[in-house]
Structures are given as structure tokens and as C-alpha cells.
């Protein structure tokens, strides 16, 4: 049984999401009244007409919040309902509660807001110049950049503009709150972070944590978009229930979800890079201006990961990184698969491309020369250990015959004036662990029942990534029993307290290890009891295929009788497991430490074709060598690699998140914001796992897989650049993502840059700050 634990029920339409459970008879439906403007001063809210509307039970405002009107997870700068200032378009102002969703919607338009519109900031550089920052800039350096410029043969500078990305989890944000005995609240939420929801609800309602139960069965996709941003909707449902004593459900419509909730952060970045003629990059100086939106959300942590991934897969001796969260009037930007890493890596790849061009070497050559090697030090001081960057690269080069593909593409391009092809290599190196060290902890609760069936709870949330499948695999292997005996329970704050969000690719690492520990303890107790009975050393006993083995040979004792005997002997059949990733630390003052348990490596080869007449393109093939460690479930892992890639390709090409200069979302529907479909994704998609590279950290040698593959998508930008430059060798390329067909055609039509491209900086002038 290798398949996804939920898959059969999914295909039969039998899995239930928050709003699929039969509703309690008197349940109310909540609809939010949002701020219509990106920036304004709220003067008054008139709810009288809405309250008089049929079916409406209540219209709640900030003043109805009994506790603190505050849901910011890190910095307290995010009110649940707007009070005086309107910070972004879509910010919740009021909650309408009515008997049916239609009645609530009808009343939504009857709430009138009196406000004074103020000028919004939408551009992070403008925010930076005006001092609109979320926190002090983050800085990290290694070596001495200023001195290194002199050793470089060429120094180049440039800039990038990186677009955001909408999550488009197929299930929009939703929550349902139930009132239980004694006013205790039970909240079913589509959240990646039940504990974050519990904390925020508790604060908003002024109740202790233990009176708030948050339960998550599964998510219809999260991708980071429900790590922090599910909290507001859970809080609003809970507020409605506390206020009315009735169950309240709140389900965002797709357009609401797209317009109101945060996305992947757009960035503007500037860089200066120095390279020797032989292709060795000596120095890299980069400034990241993150468009954080209107509230902190997780932006500081996202920025931290940008800093850590600023040198991508390369070993660069002299690095200086400046990064800052700029507060604007867009919805608060949030976690999205990759969590700031992709933006950092995009800039590095852009700079490297310029540097290669400056010394007349191919991009691939310079990539290869500078790839991380065992023992290299990252800018944050950690040493690259078990570093497979070069191995993945070599394997991709050989297995996918890159040199031959390159010459075939060159030949094609010589023959075809209108249709051009391009290729790019994209190495990925991604650090595994929450960058906030304290979050790297997890617990589990395992019960073995006397019939031999097993219940497993962890703090991890199933959102399609296959966590439950992995947990079941880990526990069934540890106990030596069939997976069918296990049930992986919903994620519930009553069974597991204080869990970290399911994020950072680390959910299986953390929760799998916690489950492994609980299961192992139970198994050891069971075998110890059996050893006593057999009068042998417990070390000689193992459990395999549901049979106790002595010295590797089966005994007559099966799982069920083992469990029954242990119960009668009063041995505990339950255990709580706890895991905290060892060795992690990071000293932010010194900019030095060991923030990641390990790194995941891989290399993708991406081929594209473009129509030089129309500016349209196809991604023709993606071939990947990926380092998974020893996979727990190859089918699950393959799904993660392919799905991550699809999102990365989408982010780089057609996913065009657009706001106007008033901070209004222009791409707030699936009709205007396109994500990859079956025709977009290449048929030619090949993933090869690196063999024989287990890690000591993950359960059974497995490695994290959720986020790293997304960054293979970055290669699409450079493959498109390659193809478009074949059509227009004198073209003026700009490192702007996404490369929509409009941008591609603009490149084809734009007059050649009047300045040399890339922009060379005289080496003697390079010591000045960019």
C-alpha cells in the first residue's frame, strides 16, 4: 500500500471538508464586509439597514470584540475588524450573520461605510523611501565585499522585479464554529496552523486557550496561504458563535479569497556581482525590498529565508545582503511554498546570468563553476554537509544529455526564424527547518487499542501533501504492522497542544519523528513484556509483518495477542512522542549559526519554445534530478516534486498578480488570474531521484520535499530568456517576473538598450554602495 491514504475516498467524493459536514439546524452564515479602499480613515459604519434585512441575526463590528482586536501572529499590527484606519482593500470591517448565505450576502451590501480615502502606497521602494517599514532591515555578510571587487575582472549591476503569486488552493478559506457546553468553542478550520488559530481566537474572545478547540481534518490545498491567513476567518466564525450562541460558518467566495487574502510577496531587488575571467564569482552584494503588504503577518520570517537563500546553490566567498520588509497598502503578504527562498534565488540567478555574459562564458558554465561543494560555508556560517549540488548537476547533465540538447537547439534556432527554442539549467539548494528555531518541535499521541487497531494524532495538518500517508507509513513500519490497522486522526488542539504550523517542508520531519518516537516506545514496551515472558533479552525481539520475531525468526506470537497480553499485564498501550530538531541555532546579531537541519539539492533542465511573431510560448520539457534522501512514499514524493514544479513554472510565466496604483486588485478572479492547466504543463516531464543518499534527520532516512521543487520553476525564466534572445540577440532583457506573453512581445519589440547590457561597472568604481 503505497498510495495516498485519502485518495480512494477523494475519488469517491467521500472526504469531508469544513462545510461538507451536515450543518447544525440553526447554523448561521457569515459574510464579511470589506474595506473598499486600500487606505482610508474609517469614520462610521451604519449597520441599521443590514440588521433589518431578512434573516439577519447580527452585524458585528470591532466594538463587539470582547477581547483584544488583534490577530497579528508576530507583531501586533493586524486588527481582526478595522477600527479607525483602513489598511488594505478587502480588510474586514464588519461581519454579517444571517440564516442563509444568500440572506447574508444580500445584507452585506446594505452595510454602509463612511470613510475618508487616503493615498495608498503600493510600491515597496516608495514605502522604503518614506520610511514605511515593518521592522529594521536585516543584514548579513560574509567575507568582505568591498575589498573583493578589486579582485574581480568584471563587476555588473542590475535589478529585478519579482511578481507575487496567488495560492489558488482549490478550497477557499473557510471555518465553522460550534458552541459547546459551558460556552466552550469548537472551531473547524481550514488552517495549516491550528495552534495559531486557537491562540488568536483566544485573544480575540478573551478566553483561555483550553476553552478553544480547533480541529482540522484536512485542507483542500494550503501552499502556505492558510498558515497564518486562515486565522482571521476562524476568529470571525468564533466571534459570531460567541455572540449568538449558534454555530456559524464562513466560506469565502473565490473572488473574495483572491481579492482579500495575502499572497506570495512581490520583491524589488538590486544587485552587484563580481566575477573573475575564469568564471568564479567572488562577490555578491544584494538589496531586497519586500512588498510586505499592510501587516506583518509572517513577512519577517519570509524575509529571513530570502536572506538565507540569497546565494541560491552557489558558494560565494564575499557576500553582503540587505533586506527589508516594506509596509504598503496591499493585503498582508504571507507564506507561499518556498517562503521567500524563491525570490532570493531568482535574484542570484539573474545576477549570475549577467556575470556570465560579462566574461563571455555560458550561463551553465558559470553555474557549474560556482556550485556549492562539500565543506563550503553558507553566508550564515553553516557548512554545506552531505552536499549533493554537484552530483545532481552532473547526473542531470549526463542523464538528460544536456550538451546534445544544447547543440540541437542551436541548430533549430539557426533554421527557424519564427519559432525559437531555449534551455536553462536550474540548480536548487534549500534549507530544511523553520528559520525560527523554537518552532522546530512537534508532538504525537499514539493509542493502541486492545483489538490491535491504532489511532495516531500529530500536530501536522493533511493538506494534500501526503502527511497522513507518511505518518501512517512511519508508524506502521515502527510497529511492524499493516497500514490498514492505523487511523490518522484529525489535527486537534485537544489531543496535541502548541503545535507548529504545517509548513517549511518540515511537517513529516517533525511530526513523523514525533510519531516514530511514540510508536517506538510502545513497541519497546510490548517487546519488553514479551521478552519477560520468553525469558530472553528484549534486543533479540523484533516485530515484522505483525509477528514477533526472535533473532529474526518468526515466533507464534502475533500482533493482536501481543497487544492483548500486554494490556492484561497492565502495560501502557499509549504514548506521547516529542521531537525537537537537534543542533539548530542562529545568532541573529552575529549573523551566524546552524539554522537548518540539512539541505535538499537538485537540478532541473527546462526547455521552452517561443513564437517570435506572437510572443507566446510553450514549456516543452522539464527533467529533474532530485535529492529525496530515502523516500518514505515515492508516489507521494513524486507528486510533491511535480506539483511544486507546476507552481514554480506558473509563478514565473502566466501567474500575473496585478494591483493598480490605488491598491485595487485587478486579477481577482480565475478569469483574470491564470494558473497552469493540463495544456500548460509539459507532457515531457521526468523526475529522477538521487539514489543512496539517506539523511540521519528524517524518519527512516527521508528528506523534506514540499518546497524545494517549486524553485525549479525559476529555470523557466532563463529558458525563455534564452529562446527570446535567440530571436532578438540585440534585445534588452529585463529580470522581471512573470514573463507573460505581453512581456515576451515587449522584449521582442523593444529597441535595443542604449546602455550596454548587462550594465558593467568599472571595477575601480565598484567599491561604492549600489
Amino acid at each position: 500500500m503505497k498510495d495516498h491514504l485519502d485518495a480512494e475516498r477523494h475519488t469517491r467524493g467521500q472526504t469531508r471538508y469544513v462545510d461538507d459536514d451536515p450543518p447544525p439546524s440553526n447554523m448561521l452564515h457569515g459574510v464579511v464586509v470589506p474595506s473598499p479602499v486600500a487606505h482610508g480613515r474609517l469614520i462610521a459604519v451604519d449597520t441599521s439597514r443590514a440588521k433589518a434585512s431578512p434573516g439577519v441575526v447580527a452585524v458585528l463590528l470591532a466594538e463587539h470584540i470582547p477581547g483584544e482586536n488583534q490577530i497579528g501572529p508576530v507583531i501586533q499590527d493586524e486588527p481582526l475588524l478595522a477600527e479607525e484606519e483602513l489598511h488594505f482593500q478587502g480588510q474586514p470591517v464588519a461581519l454579517v450573520l444571517a440564516s442563509t448565505p444568500e440572506q447574508a450576502r444580500a445584507a452585506q451590501g446594505l452595510v454602509t461605510l463612511d470613510f475618508e480615502e487616503l493615498e495608498p502606497i503600493v510600491d515597496p521602494k516608495v514605502a522604503f523611501e518614506r520610511g514605511s517599514l515593518i521592522a529594521e532591515p536585516q543584514r548579513l555578510s560574509r567575507g568582505n565585499v568591498d575589498e573583493a571587487w578589486a579582485d574581480c575582472d568584471e563587476v555588473v549591476e542590475g535589478s529585478c522585479e519579482i511578481g507575487g503569486q496567488e495560492h489558488v488552493y482549490l478550497e477557499t478559506q473557510r471555518a465553522r464554529a460550534y458552541a459547546e457546553e459551558g460556552g466552550v468553542l469548537r472551531v473547524c478550520s481550514s488552517t495549516q496552523s491550528p495552534y495559531a488559530a486557537q491562540k488568536a481566537i483566544s485573544k480575540v474572545l478573551g478566553r483561555p486557550f483550553h476553552e478553544i478547540e480547533v480541529d482540522v481534518r484536512r485542507l483542500g490545498g494550503g501552499f502556505g496561504g492558510k498558515e497564518d491567513q486562515a486565522t482571521a476567518w476562524a476568529c470571525l466564525a468564533a466571534l459570531g458563535t460567541q455572540h449568538t450562541g449558534r454555530a456559524v460558518q464562513l466560506v469565502l467566495r473565490r473572488d473574495e479569497d483572491m481579492r482579500w487574502t495575502g499572497k506570495r510577496h512581490p520583491y524589488r531587488c538590486e544587485y552587484r556581482i563580481g566575477i573573475r575571467k575564469d568564471g568564479k564569482i567572488l562577490a555578491f552584494d544584494v538589496r531586497h525590498y519586500q512588498n510586505s503588504g499592510a501587516a506583518t503577518d509572517l513577512s519577517l520570517a519570509v524575509l529571513g529565508r530570502t536572506v538565507f537563500h540569497s546565494t541560491a546553490s552557489y558558494g560565494i566567498p564575499n557576500v553582503r545582503i540587505f533586506a527589508v520588509c516594506c509596509r504598503t497598502h496591499l493585503p498582508p503578504m504571507t507564506a507561499f511554498r518556498g517562503f521567500g527562498g524563491p525570490q532570493g534565488m531568482f535574484v542570484m540567478e539573474s545576477a549570475l546570468t549577467d556575470a556570465a555574459e560579462a566574461v563571455g562564458l555560458s550561463r551553465e558554465r558559470v553555474q557549474e563553476i560556482n556550485l556549492l561543494a562539500e565543506g563550503d560555508r553558507f553566508p550564515y556560517g553553516q557548512v554545506a554537509e552531505a552536499c549533493h549540488a554537484r552530483r545532481c548537476w552532473q547526473q542531470a547533465m549526463e542523464r538528460f544529455d544536456v550538451p546534445r540538447r544544447r547543440s540541437e537547439i542551436d541548430a533549430w534556432n539557426r533554421r527557424n526564424p519564427r519559432h525559437k527554442k531555449g534551455l536553462a539549467m536550474m540548480p536548487v539548494c534549500f534549507g530544511i527547518s523553520f528559520t525560527a528555531t523554537f518552532m522546530n518541535q512537534a508532538s504525537s499521541l499514539v493509542h493502541v487499542y486492545t483489538d490491535g487497531s491504532v489511532s495516531v494524532s500529530t500536530g501536522g495538518v493533511e493538506m494534500g501533501q501526503g502527511l497522513n500517508t507518511n505518518i501512517a507509513t512511519v508508524v506502521s513500519r515502527a510497529l511492524g504492522i499493516a497500514r490498514s490497522r492505523l487511523r490518522v486522526e484529525s489535527t486537534n488542539t485537544r489531543r496535541i497542544a502548541n503545535m507548529s504550523a504545517s509548513a517549511a517542508s518540515a511537517t513529516t520531519l517533525l511530526n513523523g519523528n514525533a510519531a516514530l518516537r511514540a510508536a517506538t516506545s510502545i513497541r519497546d514496551r510490548l517487546l519488553a513484556e514479551e521478552a519477560k515472558r520468553l525469558e530472553v533479552d528484549p534486543d533479540r525481539l523484533t516485530l515484522e509483518d505483525e509477528i514477533v520475531h526472535l533473532d529474526g525468526r518468526p515466533t507464534a506470537k502475533d500482533w493482536q495477542s501481543l497487544v492483548r497480553d500486554a494490556y492484561l499485564a497492565r502495560v501502557s498501550l499509549s504514548d506521547h512522542g516529542f521531537y525537537a530538531t537537534p543542533k539548530l541555532y542562529f545568532d541573529a546579531e552575529k549573523g551566524e549559526g546552524h539554522p537548518f537541519a540539512y539541505h535538499v539539492y537538485g537540478t532541473a533542465v527546462i526547455e521552452v519554445s517561443v513564437d517570435a511573431l506572437l510572443g507566446t510560448y510553450d514549456i516543452e520539457a522539464v527533467r529533474i534530478v532530485h535529492d529525496l534522501g530515502r523516500s518514505l512514499n515515492p508516489l507521494v514524493d513524486l507528486g510533491q516534486v511535480e506539483g511544486g514544479l507546476a507552481q514554480g513554472l506558473g509563478w514565473m510565466t502566466l501567474e500575473d498578480m496585478r494591483f493598480d496604483d490605488q491598491g485595487r486588485m485587478l486579477s481577482g478572479a480565475l478569469a483574470t488570474y491564470k494558473v497552469p492547466d493540463v495544456f500548460f504543463m509539459p507532457r515531457d516531464l521526468e523526475v529522477e531521484f538521487l539514489e543512496g543518499v539517506p539523511t540521519e534527520h528524517g524518519p527512516f532516512g527521508s528528506k523534506a520535499v514540499g518546497e524545494p521543487p517549486l524553485m525549479y520553476g525559476i529555470g523557466a525564466h532563463f529558458a525563455l530568456r534564452d529562446a527570446l534572445l535567440a530571436a532578438r540577440p540585440d534585445g534588452d532583457w529585463r529580470y522581471e517576473s512573470p514573463v507573460t506573453p505581453e512581456k515576451a512581445l515587449a522584449f521582442l519589440c523593444r529597441p535595443p538598450s542604449t546602455e550596454a547590457s548587462p550594465q558593467l561597472v568599472p571595477v575601480e568604481d565598484a567599491t561604492a554602495q549600489p
Partner: protein, 529 residues
């Protein structure tokens, strides 16, 4: 797509005040929902039918896809996948609605097995809709190659490099967004479904008994045809005649795939009139030298029609880029024209085909009609030359003018398939001995209305088809259009695209006459090459 005008029409089987009667999986039901209520909402309100998911409610994601079966006298029941978020319950009258619950066999079907086996379901939210579409694909594939009016394969377009099976699978998955998988596993599952199709269907591909016996479908499929036939008889007796069609101020719905997106919340209960399903409105017929396309003919029917394919052999390729299969089963040609979007793809194609409209109006106790050239319908942005109460019953195409010409359609959108065009362009051209004998050009997305380039086309007639002639067409077009900046692109971009799409017509239709490299140069500011 919609027909905004007030009208009434005789309905063979119209929902009566006693509700909408249809087969819901294995049960005969009567829905008393207000007129215009979406099938998706109808399902989601019933706790035993929540397997159908709402992903976007605008036909863009496919999470809500269901099967709708209709009785066809010659072939039993034909099932089509449709997005339930864009279909009013009224339209189910006399039909068979099958949801994911209705496909359940108590154990996984071969379609479900393949999805599980390939890990093609992750978060699961898109999965029920995909199971429905792949099941529909299996039914359709087993019925063999397209026959006139046949089982759908007529619209099959094989993108370069695709096997027939791959094209079938991609067509089935076309309207589905999956944010988890990257589609490779879904493609693989689909291919293996095709390999596993039950054998022995023989001459009777629609034999539901065999599908049931082989464990693909539940037993109620065997009796559906008989039950629908009895239902039809029952409803025909009960049907109320529409005696006062012009009196109401109701909106006419012919498909509704855009109207529901624009105004989904407001429609239910507003006296919406779902256009009747009388045979004349549902069929394409050759009458003399004209092809008559009834107001209810869907995009997919257009692609399947042998008559239309004879006129426009590449229609399947054009439609491939226009809408998903599930939407093509709902969107109508007439609705697209009446919706008057400046960027309507089928509209631009129909303009180049010189389509005419048969407009009908019930006045002074009589049904009056007139013919209106399509390009005269558009007076300004969404402003139509139709009198109150007047409606379009047919779209007419001149057969000989099209037969003797070649037709091309081009569009560019952010995503290649199933996205609204930034600019689209269509061309019908007849060339003899190097000279243009007839030309009809149309473009969309560059003016408040879909634009028929009458003067530009006329000026080129009689000229030798060469570089100078094409330059003249491009220049004249640029002088005619007036694009604006919006989320689909800047005005400059649309201008450049319009020019390049027109070039593309000629490069593709006349590869011997035009050298691509001389047409790739950027356009200078001001619109001239």
C-alpha cells in the same frame, strides 16, 4: 453565453410551476428551487450530495463538474460533462443529472482506481469533478470515432505531438484545475483508463448494461433511458403552453456561461427564462445555400457538426483554445454573439464568416422576423441593434462563400488554452491566380465592439496578394482600431498583437508567399511597421 433580450418562446418541455422534474442519480426528483438556481447550489444544500465541490463558481476550475444525460432517440442517453456552477436547475427538466455520488459502486471504479494508483489525487478537492470528466471520456471513447451528430470526438483536436489517446485525455481534463499534481499523474491515469475500457461493446457502444456489468457504472444507468422516455411522455402532457411570451421583462438565457459569471448572485428568482429546447433551436441545418445554426447550438455542437467542419475544417483547433470541454457543452453560439463581449472568440470567427442573424419578435399577435448582418448588430459597447422583445433564433452562414474560401482564427491570451483572449482575429479569404477575390477580416479586443473590418477587407479585394498588400491591410487595420489598457494587456501591446495576429493568418495560410523573417521586425511607435 447569454441572450439579454426579453423574449418568450414555445418550449417543448418547459419547467412548469410544479417544479423541475429530472432523474437525480437513481431517483426521480422534483426541484422547487426558484428559476435560475444553479445546479451546484442545489447540490451543495443537500448534505448527501456535497461530493460536488465549489472551486470558483465561474466555470474556470472544474471542481463542480457533473454529468447531464439527455435522451437521444437513436443512441439512448448521451451524457456530457458540464460545470454545474453555470447551469440553472431549470435546464435539468426531463434530463438525468449524475453526480460523483451517483458514480459510486461501493468500491472504486476503474477510473477511481487509476487515479489512486498514480497518486493523481492529493488534496482531493478537484478530484470528484475529474472523476466525472474521465468517466465521461471513457463513455465517449468507447463509442468510437466521430459520426455526424455523434459522440463528441468530432471536436477532438490533437495538439502537436499528442497521440489520439493523449488528446482525448487532455480534452477531458481541459476544464479542470488541479493545484497539487502538475497533471502528469492525471494524464497517466487517463491514458490507462482508455487502455482499460471494457471490450465487447460491439455495435452497441451505448449499451449501458455492459458498462454496468463490467463494474464501471452503477445499475441505474441501465434503466435511465427507459425512465427518461417515460419522464418525457409525462412532461409533454403536463407542459404549459407559453401564451404571452412578450409580456415579461425577463432575461433570456441561452447557456449562461458568462451571465452567471457576471451576475451569479442576482439571477436566481429574477424571472429568468431559460431558452426552450425546441429541436429547431438546437440543431444545425443546411437550408439551401445557408447553414442555419439554432440559438441553442453549443460550441461543442459546432465542432461536431459535419456541415460546419466542411466549411471550417479547423474548427476543432480553434475551439480547443477557446473554452474547456465542459463549458463548450454549455456555451451557445448565439449567446456568445448576443453577449457582445468585444473579445468574444466565436463572435470574431462568425464576423469573418459573414454571419447573419434571424431576429424574431412577437408583436400584434404574430411572430415577425428579419435578417440582420451580424456586424450591424453591434452599435457600441454592449449596445445591440435589437428592438424590445426581439431575439435571435438562428445564426446563418452563407455556405458557398465559405466553402470556396479558407478560414483562419488566431488568438493570444495569457494562458494558451481556456483563457479570455487579449486580442483575437479571424480571416476568411479567397485567392485566385494570386489575387484576393474575397476577404473578410475581424478582430476582437481592440475596440468597444467585436470589430468587422469591412473597409479594410474591401480595399484589399482585387489586389495581388503580396507584401505590399499585407502592409496595406495592417496599416489600415491599425488606423481603425482603438484598444485600451486593461488587465489583459496595455493598449500598445494589443496594437502590436493585432498586427501580428493578422500577419500570422497570412504566414500560415500562404506559407509560399510570405517569408516569416521579414515580418518579425518590431513595429515603430505610432503603429506603423
Amino acid at each position: 453565453m447569454t441572450n439579454h433580450r426579453d423574449l418568450g418562446t414555445q418550449s417543448a418541455i418547459a419547467p412548469t410551476q410544479s417544479g423541475t422534474r429530472f432523474l437525480l442519480n437513481g431517483r426521480l426528483v422534483t426541484a422547487l428551487e426558484p428559476s435560475g438556481t444553479l445546479v451546484l447550489d442545489f447540490l451543495r444544500r443537500r448534505p448527501d450530495l456535497v461530493g460536488t465541490k465549489e472551486g470558483c463558481k465561474e466555470g474556470d476550475c472544474g471542481a463542480c463538474v457533473v454529468l447531464v444525460g439527455e435522451l437521444h432517440s437513436d443512441e439512448g442517453v448521451r451524457y456530457r460533462p458540464v460545470t454545474s456552477c453555470l447551469m440553472p436547475v431549470d435546464e435539468l427538466h426531463g434530463k438525468h443529472l449524475v453526480t460523483i455520488e451517483g458514480l459510486d459502486l461501493g468500491q472504486p471504479s476503474p477510473v477511481q482506481e487509476k487515479i489512486v494508483e498514480h497518486g493523481a489525487s492529493q488534496c482531493g478537492f478537484c478530484t470528484p469533478g475529474i472523476v466525472v470528466s474521465l468517466t465521461s471520456m471513457a463513455l465517449e471513447a468507447a463509442s468510437g470515432p466521430a459520426s455526424p451528430g455523434g459522440n463528441g470526438a468530432g471536436s477532438l483536436y490533437k495538439t502537436p505531438g499528442a497521440s489520439r489517446s493523449m488528446a482525448q485525455v487532455e480534452r477531458a481534463l481541459s476544464g479542470h484545475l488541479c493545484r497539487c499534481t502538475g497533471y502528469r499523474s492525471l494524464r497517466q491515469a487517463g491514458l490507462e483508463v482508455l487502455e482499460a475500457l471494457p471490450s465487447g461493446l460491439g455495435d452497441d457502444p451505448q449499451s449501458m448494461d455492459l458498462w454496468v456489468k463490467r463494474g464501471w457504472l452503477p445499475a441505474f444507468f441501465s434503466t435511465a433511458a427507459g425512465r427518461l422516455a417515460s419522464l418525457r411522455a409525462e412532461l409533454e402532457t403536463a407542459s404549459e403552453a407559453d401564451t404571452d411570451p412578450a409580456g415579461e421583462t425577463s432575461r433570456i438565457l441561452a447557456g449562461g456561461t458568462d451571465l452567471y459569471v457576471q451576475r451569479g448572485d442576482q439571477l436566481p428568482g429574477t424571472g429568468l427564462r431559460v431558452l426552450g429546447r425546441e429541436p429547431a433551436l438546437r440543431s444545425l441545418r443546411l437550408v439551401g445555400d445557408r447553414l442555419e445554426i439554432g440559438a441553442q447550438v453549443t460550441f461543442e455542437q459546432l465542432a461536431e457538426s459535419a456541415e460546419f467542419r466542411r466549411l471550417v475544417p479547423d474548427v476543432a483547433r480553434f475551439l480547443h483554445g477557446i473554452a474547456s470541454l465542459q463549458v463548450r457543452h454549455r456555451a451557445t453560439v448565439a449567446g456568445n454573439l448576443i453577449n457582445a463581449s468585444p473579445i468574444g472568440d466565436v463572435t470574431v470567427l462568425m464576423l469573418a464568416l459573414g454571419a447573419e442573424l434571424r431576429c424574431r419578435r412577437f408583436s400584434d399577435g404574430a411572430d415577425r422576423e428579419r435578417l440582420l448582418p451580424l456586424h450591424k448588430l453591434y452599435r457600441g459597447y454592449k449596445d445591440l441593434d435589437l428592438a424590445p422583445g426581439e431575439w435571435v433564433s438562428h445564426v446563418l452562414i452563407d455556405v458557398s462563400a465559405t466553402e470556396s474560401a479558407t478560414v483562419d482564427f488566431q488568438k493570444v491570451s495569457k494562458r494558451k488554452c481556456l483563457d479570455i483572449a487579449t486580442v483575437n482575429s479571424a480571416c476568411r479569404i479567397r485567392v485566385r491566380e494570386g489575387r484576393i477575390e474575397a476577404l473578410d477580416l475581424a478582430v476582437g479586443g481592440v475596440a468597444p465592439i467585436p470589430l468587422y473590418l469591412g473597409q479594410v477587407s474591401e480595399a484589399a479585394v482585387g489586389r495581388e496578394l503580396d507584401d505590399a498588400c499585407l502592409h496595406g491591410i495592417l496599416r489600415a487595420t491599425q488606423e481603425t482600431i482603438s484598444p485600451i489598457d486593461d488587465v489583459r494587456g496595455s493598449a500598445d501591446y494589443k496594437r502590436a498583437l493585432c498586427r501580428r495576429l493578422q500577419i500570422a493568418h497570412f504566414l500560415e495560410l500562404f506559407p509560399d508567399l510570405f517569408e516569416p523573417s521579414s515580418w518579425l521586425a518590431p513595429m515603430a511607435p505610432g503603429g506603423n511597421p
